[in-house]
């Protein structure tokens, strides 16, 4: 077990444990803050995979953007208006059974499969090649995502707009 293995298990543990808290926490604010560590752990795993750019994007988008918005939403509804948001769990046993089966299936699959593996490369910085691929091979998808974001923005504005201002 070398240093990288230890770091990998560390990040994996952070991800799993905090993800467990996210779904189990009674307090919705705890759940939201645990999500912070889940996202962080995942970005650590990306770093170990050699995907440095994706890792940073993960931090930037999820922690800097999504989580903060989520916290805003939770806090504005939870503490200020003192609405009690229930975050209990129901039907734990069937859920555990189903998830157990699903997990066993996935783990079984993972070990029994011959995955298409590419030879390991020394991790090089991915930013440049990522950018090049996005504007050459996947340019259509890149442009389409632009339209997707435009549509999402217009949609969000539409939903948020009060109906009064006709």
């Amino acid at each position: 077990m070398n240093l990288y293995d230890i770091i990998f298990y560390l990040f994996a543990a952070i991800t799993i444990v905090s993800a467990f808290i996210v779904v189990n926490a009674k307090n919705i604010v705890y759940a939201a803050f645990s999500l912070l560590f889940t996202f962080f752990g995942v970005s650590g795993l990306y770093v170990l995979l050699g995907a440095d750019f994706i890792a940073i994007v993960q931090v930037m988008v999820y922690i800097g953007g999504i989580l903060v918005l989520l916290l805003f939403g939770v806090m504005l509804t939870h503490k200020i208006t003192s609405v009690d948001i229930k975050a209990g769990s129901v039907q734990t046993i069937p859920a555990v059974i189903i998830i157990g089966i699903f997990a066993a299936l996935l783990i079984g699959l993972m070990y029994s499969t011959h995955w298409a593996v590419n030879p390991a490369e020394i991790p090089v910085t991915t930013t440049k090649s990522l950018g090049k691929t996005l504007v050459t091979e996947y340019v259509l998808i890149f442009e389409l995502l632009g339209i997707l974001l435009l549509v999402a923005m217009i949609g969000a504005a539409t939903i948020a707009r009060r109906d009064g201002d006709k």
Binding site: L105, L109, S112, T113, H114, W115, A116, N118, T133, T136, E137, Y138, V139, L140, I141, L144, L145, I147, L148, L150, V151, A152, I154, G155, A156, A157, T158, I159, R161, D163, D165, K166
Partner: protein, 503 residues
């Protein structure tokens, strides 16, 4: 850098480019004319018609667009072929009809200033669907599906008058999020197995063997779940009734026709491209023996049509009833997939063209009545047939056609499906489908019974129709009647649009 392949690709996707340009123009026009939204639908129509003309004129153009140059792969993100063009044409036609639909709709009129956004989002949906029907790469499929979904999530809750509207949007977004997540997981598994996201390369990888069949089956189930959600096949249909009921009627109609068509197109293309080794002389597809598509789709088809029809029996809300009926129709259409032959696909193409006409017609009449009486409940339809005979008779024609009785077009659609089934010696499925049609007769005719035979509780007000309304209904009504008798042009056209781009 070599741009020539990029230019070639751009030349192949002219219709899509026109749609995207129109989308942007609508946004700009919406900003310039802040007060007056009358021009927006006409701009939308213009864009759609130009795009439609391009599709028609380029219907013979085939080829891969956006090839993966770096991996020396000759297959691209998009496969442009006549099968895709047929569906694109269908989508454009539906969209044109929906634009008029929305123009006549009081609920859309009442959104006032937000109409510009309505058309922008509508074009988002159209664009997503147009890319979806010719996508030949899993990433492309996913992205175009998301574009379609995002726009439709918002549109489903576009009217914010009642809680039901927001509920529709919320349910749609939650189900949609789960479905696309599940599908993405399936895609990642397939990528892990084959090392590629391109459907053609996946086909090659599957033929070379050496694939863990259990994992493959698992990942395919996940992907089918994602697509099944779009075509609202049972058991992925839970969102359909609520969303169809809560969404504005024009969007419900659009979802039930165009979105479903795009879903079917991608399902067929996915199976055809990734799993078919070759097509034999009589048009049957030979599948790579890695996954039992036949059983899976048969089960889905039976479940979908049976559940759709039986659930529709109890519905008093017309929109909800039509939602379940559209689930049932998805079941019939799946029968066309299950035979895995060119005849089956041809039947689907024919059925979709007819389904578009009759379904839009029914929804349009429901909308006209709802706009005037403010109700979609079947009990408020009592006596309407005598007060406004034009609506009553045309509704009767559409519903009879949905049932699939002659001499309407619906009969022809069903006929071709059953012929394909019997051709493939799947008599059991054909019998189940016929029995289902009999069940569906009950709930369609029940509406007519209320309109013509039930005594109204009070005085029934006449529904005044404008000329535009009458013209719209007639435009849909005439093909439904004519295609029931003289259907060879449609059949010939569908037959000419069966070409898939192969290796």
């Amino acid at each position: 850098m070599d741009f020539s392949s990029l230019y070639d690709s751009l030349a192949l996707i002219k219709p899509e480019i026109i749609i995207s340009v129109t989308l942007v123009l609508i946004v700009v026009l919406d900003l310039i004319y802040d007060k007056n939204k009358k021009l927006v639908p006409y701009l939308a129509l213009l864009g759609l018609i130009v795009s439609g003309i391009y599709i028609l004129s380029d219907i013979a153009n085939e080829g891969f667009a956006f090839k993966m140059s770096a991996t020396s792969n000759k297959f691209g993100l998009l496969a442009l072929d006549s099968f895709g063009s047929y569906f694109k044409l269908l989508i454009i036609l539906t969209s044109v009809l929906i634009v008029f639909f929305a123009k006549h709709s009081v609920e859309i009129e009442n959104t006032g200033k937000r109409q510009g956004e309505f058309y922008t989002l509508l074009f988002g949906m159209i664009l997503g669907m147009m890319f979806m029907v010719s996508a030949s790469d899993l990433i492309m499929i996913y992205v175009s599906m998301e574009l379609l979904s995002f726009s439709s999530y918002v549109l489903a809750g576009f009217i914010k008058l009642r809680d039901r509207n927001s509920e529709a949007s919320l349910k749609y977004i939650i189900f949609g999020g789960v479905a696309s997540g599940v599908m993405l997981f399936g895609i990642s598994l397939i990528y892990g197995l084959t090392g590629t996201t391109n459907l053609y390369s996946i086909n090659a990888a599957l033929q070379s063997g050496n694939i863990n069949l259990i994992v493959l089956g698992f990942s395919l189930l996940l992907i089918v779940a994602g697509i099944g959600y779009k075509i609202s096949a049972v058991p992925f249909h839970f969102w359909t009734p609520d969303v169809y009921e809560g969404a504005p009627i024009s969007i419900t109609a659009f979802l039930s026709v165009a979105s479903k068509a795009a879903g079917f197109a991608i399902l067929i293309r996915f199976i055809k491209t990734a799993f078919v080794t070759n097509v034999d002389g009589s048009g049957n597809w030979l599948l790579v023996p890695v996954f039992d598509w036949k059983t899976l789709i048969s089960v889905f088809a039976i479940l979908t049509m049976t559940l759709g029809n039986f659930a529709a029996l109890w519905q008093d809300n017309l929109k909800r009833m039509l939602a379940y009926s559209s689930i049932a129709h998805a079941g019939y259409l799946l029968l066309g997939v299950v035979v895995f032959s060119q005849i089956g696909i041809e039947a689907i193409l024919i059925y979709f063209a007819i389904y578009m006409l009759m379904n839009l017609g029914s929804f349009y009449i429901v909308m006209l009545i709802a706009d005037k009486t403010g109700s979609e409940d079947i009990h408020d339809y009592s006596g309407l047939g005598y007060v406004t005979p034009f609506l009553g008779v045309s509704f009767a024609v559409f519903l009879v056609s949905l049932t699939g009785l002659p001499p309407t077009a619906g009969f022809i659609g069903k006929l071709y499906l059953f012929i394909a089934l019997i051709d493939a010696k799947m008599t059991t499925l054909a019998v189940i489908a016929v029995l289902n049609s009999v069940v569906s007769l009950y709930y369609y005719i029940r509406v007519l019974k209320h309109m013509f035979l039930t005594k109204p509780n009070g005085e029934v007000k006449e529904i005044k129709l404008s000329t535009a309304n009458v013209v719209y209904v007639i435009v849909l009504l005439i093909p439904v009647l004519v295609l029931g008798i003289y259907f060879s042009p449609l059949v010939n056209f569908a037959e000419s649009c069966l070409a898939f781009l192969s290796f």
